[in-house]
């Protein structure tokens, strides 16, 4: 038997008016910083978003006490519940303690999905530096 795969009826996603959407950010929190959404990207109508990379990092800049510095990137599909994509919790107290979480892959998010970068820091003393970024392609749905 001969199996034939017919050519696709649509062009590949990267040929459908693809535009790179990359967001990065950094903040220095503390001592003590309330949970905050540092950036948000919402997939517009009639578009999709192919996520390529995510990165979260935080570094304690001073000796801390009672620390729980968190950096995470999450997605909320249109009408769905929030789901973490990349989560980093740093409980270290010493200066220079680094936490890092990276992700690369080919996730595709549908119209209306909301991707957010979030930080919080419960330290009673000292500062924590947070970095959070993503890259991907927005293209015609």
């Amino acid at each position: 038997m001969k199996v034939i795969f017919p050519p696709g009826q649509r062009s590949n996603y990267f040929d459908r008016n693809a535009v790179t959407k990359a967001i990065s950010g950094a903040t220095s929190t503390g001592p003590g910083s309330a949970p905050t959404i540092r950036w948000t990207y919402t997939v517009p109508a009639a578009k999709k978003y192919a996520l390529n990379t995510l990165a979260c990092r935080n570094v304690r800049q001073d000796i801390g006490t009672v620390t729980a510095a968190q950096t995470f990137i999450a997605v909320t599909p249109a009408g769905g519940a929030i789901t973490n994509l990349c989560t980093l919790s740093n409980y270290a107290l010493e200066r220079g303690a680094v936490g890092q979480a990276d992700f690369s892959g080919g996730l595709v998010f549908m119209t209306g999905a909301v991707i957010t970068a979030n930080t919080s820091d419960n330290s009673a003393t000292g500062n924590t530096e947070h970095n959070y970024s993503m890259t991907g392609l927005e293209f015609d749905a």
């Binding site: 220095s28 905050t36 959404i37 919402t42 517009p44 109508a45 119209t111 209306g112």
Partner: protein, 104 residues
Amino acid sequence: MLKKRLPLAHSTLTGYYVDVPSYRMLPDTWLPITPGLIYKDGAFAGAAPAAVLALSPSVVCELPAETPLDDLGKIDQRPLQKMYATHPRFGKPDYVPPVATDPT
């Protein structure tokens, strides 16, 4: 990218945020700096959200270049709703974008 100063909002689920579809907060631009409540890049962890919001806090954000603005430089509600037509919040007629001002 457009730079605008925008008011902050708060929810118990996500914390402080800006109520627009896409933005990036610029560091060290929170106002008004208030001891015990707001520092230059956020609200303090122990500060009550009601006390922080009572100060009408704001932050400078970068918005996507395609964000529709009206003649006064404010975010234009109708075109924005069209851009996010299928979104359960930003695409609804009752969504009113926050008032954007020039960054200071």
